[in-house]
Amino acid sequence: MKKAFPILGLLTAALLSYALYDALIVAPKEQTMGDVQRIFYYHVPSAWTAFLLFFLNFLASIQYLVRRDPETDKVANWVVITFAVLTCVAAFVIKLVPDLMKALPEGVELSSIATTGPIIAGIYFLLRKLFSVEDSDALAVTTAEVGVVFCTVVLVTGPLWARPVWGIWWTWDVRLTSTLVLWLIYVSYLVLRRFSSSGQTPVLAAALAVFGALDVPLVYFSIWIFRTQHPQPVIGGGGSIDPRMLRVLLVNWLAFLCFAFLVCWSRYRLERLKRQVEETQALEALLEPRGAVR
């Protein structure tokens, strides 16, 4: 396993370099914004990666809270399975009822509704299999930290893109504001973990993570309504995207996903090592008085 790391590292570096070349040279120049638009190829994949990592944090936190007790664990398993089945069924029901079909928001495909539920359930059970209860907590910390790093990139590249294009550094539009709030929530999560001296910090942090995750859709929704009442600059075209640009975007996303995976892996190993050291130190502290008596 450990030998794979350098090889994967080299491959990821190569992929990132290729993605950079794609973004700077191969991708066509945007008509209205010019070369600055190329920030898009770093900004959007970072955002998607951050959201994915935060979602993994949500799943890991739930698992940590739920798996400590066998009863709640069973209940949670059934809830997840029911969720997956319901989303599949919902897709069919929506198709059959014309009123619901009309109520479907733009751009949402029935197939994505039908597949997302089972995919989420699959990831939940995969995590359950791969990580023990303690390790779920380590995974939660890891994904939160790396997620914050990627979210910071989003919040830095966003204004750097906005300034030359619209002349302002910041605007309180939906996406930027909800990303900022997301960043704040997870930074507060990390601060709680750092500053809490209770032995049950992981439990508290997991509870906070669940709250934060519940909050995110509410934040997005409330700010969306809040801001659509006022005129605002529109971010990124709502319509279709040039297929060449799409290709470059996806290549960059893949590269950043591989990079994020390696960073998470490193952070996770660090976390596991730290916990082992702490356990050993605790044992040492227990054993020392005996040695002193002798």
Binding site: V36, V149, L160, V263, S266, R267, L270, V277
Partner: protein, 39 residues
């Protein structure tokens, strides 16, 4: 134009900065492990 390069540079600065903090934490842990091993 320069905004583009600043953005890309900032992205990598943030990532490299984080990786450096990881490396620092690693070396501190290794130090603690050495201390424990000596005991």
């Amino acid at each position: 134009m320069t905004y583009l390069y600043v953005a890309y540079a900032a992205t990598w600065a943030i990532h490299v900065g984080y990786l450096i903090t990881l490396a620092v934490r690693y070396s501190r842990l290794k130090q603690e492990i050495n201390d424990l091993n000596k005991k």
